[in-house]
């Protein structure tokens, strides 16, 4: 992960630039998004042939949200998210190998095979988990932001959620408290318009920003398919929250090219194939950045192909090492249910001989 510079800082560097970002920065962002795309395609393939189980929610189409929001953060900032978490984990600094191994349920996975696709964790890089109950992470983010405030630090906590989460009570309780105490938390709604198969306007009579405004929280609407727009917006938002201006809410508008999870069809009763095809063709965040870089002559086709080949290599290596890695040992299954498994008295009641 890189320390993204602000537009002002970059502009003084003097090298080739686009919209205030240096060529190196933008190529790094493009590479990240390509890595996420190829990673998720490999996960899709692995799921189809049974190497990955359970629920598996892909981020294909939404790569700019992970790159654009997380790359401007520092390593000691916290990110917490829901279950569509693979690419956000990588953006915060968990290696692709460890994420893929977790999808495979292997001992070398980022959660040792205990979490799976929905529960990627990397506490050492401030990735505080994928969480499975819609909106549950909004309260946890509040607590991490409280801890920053309590200790007088200047980190921020970034909390991702899907659009459906804004109808959960816990989200509103968290927004209210974040506002009351001016906590350094950024609530980012990845608004892909559908909570699973339910279109947002069928279950809400107000837009996102109105909900935030009702709590007195600053709010922004950002184009989450355009990574440059996302980066610029988040540079500013992160800087403001870090400086103590209180919580910020972002309606980050994006689109999911695949089904809600691998168990679901891409299109169907709730959205048309035509809609998905149109967005896939015209709103692909990787194509959008690629075309802008081409137009600015900061990238050519050969360089793009070389970059793609390189990230495909990273993903292939991650897939191979995950496949070869050992399963976790059942002997260790009880090790982390409690922090000390040998207290006074009995902790486990399954009669399995511990």
């Amino acid at each position: 992960m890189t320390e993204a510079k602000t537009a002002e800082q970059t502009a003084t560097n003097g090298g080739p630039e686009l919209d205030g970002f240096s060529r190196d920065q933008l190529l790094h962002v493009l590479r990240e998004m390509l890595l996420y795309r190829r990673f998720e395609e490999k996960a899709e393939e692995g799921y189809a042939i049974g190497k990955i189980g359970g629920f598996c929610h892909l981020h294909i189409g939404q790569e700019a949200t992970a790159a654009g929001c997380i790359l401007p953060l520092r390593k000691d900032d916290y990110v917490i998210t829901a279950y569509r978490d693979h690419t956000q984990a990588m953006a915060k600094g968990i290696p692709a190998d460890a994420v893929m191994a977790e999808l495979y349920g292997k001992a070398t996975g980022s959660s040792g095979g205990m979490g799976g696709s929905m529960h990627i964790f990397g506490a050492d890089v401030g990735f505080m988990g994928g969480h499975g109950i819609v909106g549950g992470q909004t309260g946890l983010a509040l607590g991490m932001a409280w801890a920053i405030h309590y200790r007088g630090g200047d980190q921020v906590c970034m909390c991702f959620m899907g659009d459906a989460a804004v109808n959960q009570g816990g989200f509103h309780e968290s927004m209210n408290m974040a506002a009351v105490w001016d906590l350094p938390v950024i609530y980012v709604v990845e608004n892909n318009s559908y909570g699973m198969g339910t279109k947002f306007d069928r279950v809400s009579d107000t837009d996102m920003v109105t909900k935030a405004a009702s709590h007195g929280v600053l709010a922004s609407v950002v184009d989450g398919q355009d990574v440059i727009a996302t980066l610029k917006a988040f540079d500013k938002i992160v800087t403001g929250v870090r400086a103590g201006e209180g919580p910020h809410f972002v309606d980050l508008q994006c689109y999911r090219f695949k089904g809600h999870s691998m168990s679901d069809p891409v299109a169907g009763t709730y959205r048309s194939k035509q809609e998905v095809d149109d967005r896939t063709e015209n709103a692909d965040p990787i194509k959008i950045l690629r075309d802008r870089l081409f137009a600015a002559e900061l990238l050519n086709q050969d360089e793009l192909e070389a970059m793609d080949a390189e990230v495909r290599g990273v993903v292939a290596a991650a897939d191979e090492s995950a496949g070869a890695a050992p399963d976790p040992d059942p002997a260790n299954l009880y090790d982390h249910v409690y922090s000390d498994i040998n207290p006074n008295g009995r902790l486990f009641f399954d009669g399995r001989g511990r």
Binding site: M114, G143, E173, S174, Y338, S339, R346
Partner: protein, 327 residues
């Protein structure tokens, strides 16, 4: 040693542990300016300030999430529920977040926090304010649970819970706050989790219990003694971890047991104790183990009906006589 109320003992535990460790803070409804709905946190705001004694909105799910999130990054929150009845709104964060985090993250993220407040029926508060919530908490691996019955245990167990690195629920007896008893004033006095306490010695029948029911069990034991029956009263104090050795020990002497609890019978704490006795003490038993619980109905308001619904010393005496096969 000093004579303190149960409430004062809890207050002393909070004050001592907050003074000892800067990462400990208390949050909940009315805990700061109001001094706590049951005055357990009296004076703490003045002593520690509003960053460490935090009044929250009435948002149980939200502020419990705050506690768990703060614990995820190393603080040691104490979340006060005005009563555990209200914590039902927060169970998602208790069960799905606090209890599972360490395991789900493969040991990366622990949750060193305390959930505390009163449990059990009080007096004529009706169905929604009168229930014992122990089973709902102790059911989930990852949570620990203690239920102090005396001022001394209240102080020692709460201090142990605050120092523990796992999520610990401390369920206080709503009717115990004014109970007085001798309490050690040593700053490092703790009652370790997972250690039961024999509150009365006897060899005829074991009354095993926890929380406020310890007092009902002792009343029953007093009545039985008048009839020449000596009951052993074992206060489990900690329901997870559970002092199974102490349970097996008392039953090995008396060969007869009654479990007494404030909660509903179905999948209650007693169900687990009976299961353990079936599996591990079958040959020691001379009679089926009986349970005395709340009646299997929501708590009625009417005073006489409420008394009928709650476990009572009379019902405990009756159950003990049944396992002894005496009239």
């Amino acid at each position: 040693m000093a004579e303190l109320t149960y409430r004062e003992a809890l207050n002393q535990a909070l004050a001592e542990e907050m003074a000892r460790d800067d990462s400990v803070f208390l949050l909940g409804e009315e805990v700061a300016e109001y001094d706590g709905a049951y005055k357990v946190s009296k004076g703490l705001l003045d002593q520690f300030g509003d960053k460490r004694v935090v009044d929250t909105p009435i948002s149980e799910l939200g502020f419990t999430g705050l506690g768990v999130g703060a614990a995820m990054v190393g603080l040691r929150p104490i979340v006060e529920f005005m009563t555990f009845n209200f914590s039902i709104l927060a169970l998602d964060q208790v069960i799905n977040s606090a209890a599972k985090m360490l395991h789900m993250s493969n040991g990366q993220i622990g949750i060193p926090m305390v959930f505390r407040g009163p449990t059990g029926a009080a007096l004529q508060l009706g169905a929604q304010h009168s229930q014992a919530c122990e089973s709902w908490y102790v059911h989930a691996p990852g949570i620990k649970l203690v239920t102090p019955a005396t001022p001394s245990d209240a102080k020692g167990l709460l201090k142990a819970a605050i120092r523990d690195n796992d999520p610990v629920a401390v369920m206080e007896g709503e009717l115990l706050y004014n109970v007085k008893g001798e309490v050690p004033d040593d700053d490092d006095f703790i009652v370790p989790l997972g250690v039961a306490d024999r509150k009365r010695k006897g060899d005829d029948v074991s009354i095993i219990t926890h929380g406020r029911m310890v007092h009902i069990a002792l009343q029953a034991a007093g009545q039985l003694a008048k009839e020449g029956i000596e009951a052993d009263v074992l206060d489990l104090r900690s329901l997870r971890p559970l002092d199974v050795e102490a349970i097996l020990e008392t039953v090995s002497r008396t060969h007869r047991a009654v479990y007494v609890e404030d909660g509903f019978p179905y999948v209650g704490i007693g169900s687990q104790i009976v299961s353990i006795l079936m599996e591990e003490a079958f040959d020691d038993l001379d009679a089926p183990v009986l349970r005395v619980t709340q009646a299997d109905i929501p708590m009625p308001y009417n005073k006489k009906l409420e008394a009928w619904t709650k476990p009572s010393a009379g019902r405990v005496v009756e159950a003990c006589k049944r396992v002894l096969y005496v009239d």
